[in-house]
């Protein structure tokens, strides 16, 4: 397994899970356990098998010290899916309690080499405020539309044009035998192929172009042909969608990668993991497109746009808080928002030149927990008490009564007061 020296500069070479599986298969002791483990994970009663079946437990113990335990997969590698399946054969058995989130099967991303540049740029460009100040269309151009320019750039590149036309044709073609407007499965596959084969300078430009008009925002929303790849007759519950995603190795891996690279546990100076590595966040967001968990802009508003998978938290019963928390990793994700806005300012091109190459060792995944709060720091001293809304201490004593605000943590209630009372 890679050198575990955790210095940020260390560059361990990860064994990929196809090599690891071959190595295990060459060792009779390991390969027999590996076969047993695959049987343990096949059926529906996988949880029970892992909990009480002695043979499964023994198999897992052996595999924990085999190369399969520490193997990872490279993004976009050949036979990526098989690598991911090998990874989950071991790690599926390891995730305690089922609902806990997964660590990413992909190689960790290098921390960003110019963290301050982003934070300064973020603050100076007013990015942390809602309105995307800073981006301005050249005055000469009457109806400047960066998303249209992105489409033009793609159309003038042979490979991009061909791949783009291919997924659009697939996603907008009527599926005669099923009578539906299109085949979602085929459309997802075509989208994945587009995003795998076309350089990110074209694909990310189509996905994250900054908009100042509704026309531009609608074009951006249409990029993934949402009528086919995103929308459905009904919206499933988000926890149900997550469960379906986790039953598919590719979706599960890319969701884990998205959360590792785009979701920041609370109270941290930078807004993105890996020292504000926006590029890694955008890449893992884009790779979610074409899976069950395909996210998209929910409407064509350009000032305060929202990104979400196609699901709702209605009908979550007692797990509404957990559902809202999962949904917020898309709809209320500061890292993703900053990364997209930074892309809009072309800052990410600057980062490309500084060569933040993925693959170094620093496993800087912030140990996140399924904290149920938000990413705001839980306590900061403020001199005075927050004004209670309804004048008196309402049912929740000085806090808005409408239970729904419990779920969406509103800022003033979260900032604890540090009243310096001099005696």
């Amino acid at each position: 397994s890679p050198s575990t020296g955790s210095g940020p500069g260390a560059q361990p070479e990860w064994v990929d899970c196809i090599q690891a599986s071959d190595m295990c298969n060459q060792n009779p002791h390991c390969s027999s356990r590996y076969r047993v483990m695959r049987q343990c994970l096949v059926g529906k009663e996988k949880e029970a098998m892992l909990d009480n079946n002695r043979e499964c437990q023994a198999a897992l113990e052996v595999l924990l010290v085999s190369p399969l335990y520490d193997c990872r997969c490279k993004r976009g590698m050949k036979k990526e899916l098989q690598c991911l399946q090998n990874y989950w054969t071991i790690h599926m058995g390891l995730t305690e309690g089922g609902d806990m989130d997964d660590s990413s099967p992909y190689e960790p991303v290098a921390p960003n080499r110019h963290p301050d540049a982003f934070r300064l740029a973020s603050i100076s460009s007013g990015m942390l405020t809602l309105a995307p100040k800073g981006f301005h269309c050249p005055d000469a151009e009457r109806n400047c539309n960066p998303c249209l320019d992105a489409a033009k750039a793609c159309n003038l590149n042979n490979s991009c044009k061909k791949q783009r036309s291919s997924y659009i044709a697939t996603c907008s073609k009527e599926d005669p035998n099923k009578g539906e407007t299109c085949s979602k499965k085929r459309c997802h596959k075509a989208l994945r192929m587009f995003l795998d084969r076309v350089p990110t300078e074209y694909s990310h430009r189509l996905l994250f172009c900054p908009c100042q008009t509704e026309g531009c925002a609608e074009r951006r929303r249409q990029t993934i042909v949402p009528d086919c790849s995103y929308k459905d007759k009904e919206k499933p519950n988000c926890l149900e969608l997550r469960k379906i995603c986790r039953q598919d190795s590719l979706c599960r891996s890319r969701l884990a990668d998205y959360l590792v690279n785009c979701w920041m546990a609370s109270s941290s100076a930078s807004t993105c993991p890996n020292q504000d590595n926006h590029q890694a966040c955008l890449a893992s967001y884009a790779r979610l497109i074409g899976t069950e968990m395909t996210p998209n802009y929910v409407d064509s508003s350009f000032s305060n746009w929202t990104i979400s998978p196609w699901c709702t938290c209605k009908g979550s019963g007692n797990q509404e808080e957990e559902c809202m928390h999962f949904l917020r990793t898309f709809t209320d994700n500061t890292c993703l928002r900053n990364a997209i806005q930074a892309f809009g300012y072309g800052l990410d091109n600057m980062q490309n030149r500084s060569g933040a190459v993925p693959g170094t060792s620093a496993m800087t995944k912030a140990g996140w927990d399924w904290t149920t709060g938000t990413s705001e720091p839980p306590f900061v001293a403020i001199p005075k008490y927050p004004e209670p809304r309804d004048g008196g201490l309402g049912k929740t004593q000085g806090l808005p009564e409408d239970h729904s605000t419990c779920l969406c943590a509103n800022i003033w209630a979260l900032l604890p007061g540090l009243a310096l009372a001099l005696v």
């Binding site: 499964c56 009908g315 019963g317 839980p378 306590f379 309402g394 409408d402 604890p416 540090l418 009372a421």
Partner: protein
């Protein structure tokens, strides 16, 4: 017994001595008699090595150090990543049982304790921030309490790992919760609920926790909020708000699958749709006192959705029920039926978990059959509204004992109809017959018969042939220009001549210019029974071939929209702008010409 919290978070440091308390777990009672017994446990994976470093008090649930944490332990934990694939985070699991137990296998949903193992000693008092003294670093896990349950402590507010860091500070906690039964215990550091809560009253209480740190000279208050959620259980019976019966009248629409009348049943409890196979709050409905005919004919379809109650916005469920036809009703069905439908909330423990709904159904027969006909298309009156029964059209010879020769003339015209269509279509079936002089004037009897009751209606149809019938007709659609079109006799042209439709709009429009056998039925985006007999009758509606030029295909076939003029060859259709009459002189040039004319006029006057 259940844990109100799924996640516990704390930080441990090298050098902390054995016996140091870290955090306290709490369990809530399902029955008053239960006594929680806390145990560390581990799942199917190996027993984590670091588990021996910790001790969990069986009765108090206080987790403390079993040994002093050494540098070597830190190296060990990051080296082998025992059990957790993230470095320096130690994961433990705990469970609570109603009685003592030897087992170490975790039962399902065992809460997770995540300890951030820092390779440094515990910060001294002067280097400890007030916040650090008061609350755990990232403890944002909100407690969930089941409604209607027994009182009990649900959370230790004090930060046990910092108890003795600043011995001469006094740290006290207070809670502002707006609910008397949610307050601090007498010891002043544990949050307790003293009476059963009711989710239907409030789903969540936002508390303001205030930690006051008093030193010799300064009092500091640190505040943070905590949401305490109240979980739902099925403790409310279904009820009807308003009427529990509805009158349903069935006349024209008698098709299988048709739905009628809606009744609503309310339930103040939740009906989760996740996980999909969830049985909680399952509603079952049964049709009572129904006769065999009703059983074969009617069904009740139920669906539900979640909504927020007007007062307090508490989530509740609304079920709605509709009467559905399981089969088509015959045209002469004439009956009144009362259907009683019992809705049962199967997971409601109480007795009155049911509601009875009443559907009073009246079915009218469909009596009078009269007639209207347009050339090319024939229809029994109101046929557009028929739904659920079928009519078949046929042509009959008015006088059976006419000569065989004359009878053979009547093969010239036939009537057809698509399976799901209610219209009949007259079309030329035998052109040879039409060429014979004696067949130039034909009188038919058109009969419409309802399939089930065999009820009939008939009318006279008089057909005259104009012009010579011997020409080989081609598709009207081939003509690209108006002149050619209106002078051509095309296939399927009911009026004898092809008809030209001139489009007026720019770009790709549904109103494209084209040449058609009958503008009433072609193009109308519907490839009807006659057009289906030969695609060249109306390729605009029926073509499946390639279409060149700007266009939009219809659903399945045909050209829904086209650019300029659409005309079709056997193997392809082309939509293109007519030769654009180049605008010789646009506005700018008109103004120049006008001003120069004016100037020259003025000059000539001056001269």
């Amino acid at each position: 017994l259940y844990f109100p919290q799924n996640d516990y978070v704390e930080t441990v440091y090298v050098g902390q001595p054995a016996g140091t308390p870290i955090l306290q777990l709490h369990a809530m009672l399902d029955q008053d008699s239960e006594r929680p017994h806390f145990y560390l446990c581990w799942n199917f994976m190996r027993r984590p090595n670091h588990i021996s470093w910790f001790h969990l008090d069986v009765s108090t649930g206080v987790l403390s150090l079993n040994k002093t944490l050494e540098e070597s332990d830190f190296a060990l934990s990051s080296e082998k990543r025992s059990g957790v694939n993230r470095k320096n985070l130690l994961a433990l699991h705990a469970m609570v049982l109603p009685s003592t137990s030897k087992t170490s296998n975790c039962i399902s949903r065992a809460p997770r304790i995540t300890l951030d193992f820092v390779n440094a000693t515990l910060p001294t008092c002067d280097r400890t921030d007030m916040k650090e003294l008061c609350f755990p670093h990232r403890d944002t896990s909100n407690p969930h309490i089941m409604e209607n349950r027994f009182p009990g402590a649900l959370r230790q507010l004090r930060r046990l790992t910092r108890l003795n860091v600043c011995p001469n500070y006094t740290i006290t906690y207070s809670v502002e919760s707006g609910l008397p039964s949610l307050r601090l215990t007498h010891t002043g550091s544990q949050l307790v609920v003293t009476a059963p809560l009711d989710r239907e009253e409030s789903e969540c209480y936002r508390l303001l926790l205030v930690c006051t740190v008093q030193t010799e000279s300064v009092i500091t208050k640190v505040e943070t909020s905590l949401d305490v959620f109240v979980n739902d259980e099925d403790d409310n019976a279904p009820y009807v708000n308003g009427t529990d019966s509805v009158d349903v009248v069935i006349s024209f629409n008698r098709t299988k699958g048709g739905s009628f009348g809606t009744l609503f049943v309310f339930d103040r409890d939740l009906t989760p749709i996740y996980p999909v196979d969830q049985t909680h709050n399952k509603y079952v409905g049964t049709l009572l006192n129904s006769d065999p005919w009703s059983d074969k004919t009617f069904d009740i379809k139920g669906s539900f959705n979640e909504k927020k109650s007007p007062h307090g916005g508490i989530r509740e469920t609304v079920h709605n029920y509709q009467l559905v036809l399981k089969r088509n009703l015959h045209v002469n069905e004439n009956r009144t039926v009362q259907l009683d439908y019992l809705v049962n909330d199967t997971s409601y423990p109480g007795v009155e978990g049911t509601v009875l709904l009443h559907f009073n159904v009246t079915i009218y027969p469909y009596v009078n059959v009269s007639y209207s006909s347009q050339v090319g298309r024939v229809c029994v009156e109101n046929c557009q509204q028929f739904d659920g029964f079928t009519v078949t059209y046929r042509l009959e010879v008015p006088d059976r004992n006419m000569s065989a020769d004359l009878q053979s003339c009547y093969a010239a015209i036939a009537v057809t109809q698509a399976p799901d269509e209610l219209y009949g279509f007259l079309y030329v079936n035998d052109t040879d017959a039409l060429r014979r002089p004696e067949c130039q004037d034909l009188q038919y009897l058109l009969v419409a018969q309802e399939d089930h009751t065999q009820q009939e209606a008939s009318t006279q149809i008089h057909i005259q042939l104009e012009g010579e019938g011997d020409k080989q007709f081609l598709s009207c659609a081939r003509n690209r220009w108006r002149g050619d079109c209106e002078s051509a006799q095309g296939l399927g042209a009911t009026s004898g001549r092809c008809q030209w439709r001139q489009g007026t709009e720019k770009g790709i429009t549904e109103n494209y210019s084209t040449c058609s056998p009958d503008l009433r039925t072609c193009p109308d985006s519907f490839c009807d029974a006659v057009e289906r007999k030969d695609a060249s009758i109306c390729p605009q509606d029926c073509t499946k071939e390639t279409v060149v030029g700007g266009h939009e295909l219809g659903l399945g076939n045909g050209i829904k929209a086209g650019h300029g003029t659409c005309h079709c060859y056997p193997e392809k259709c082309v939509c293109e702008k007519e030769d654009i009459e180049e605008v010789i002189c646009d506005d700018m040039c008109k103004t120049i010409i006008a001003t120069s004319l004016l100037l020259s006029f003025v000059v000539s006057i001056l001269l």
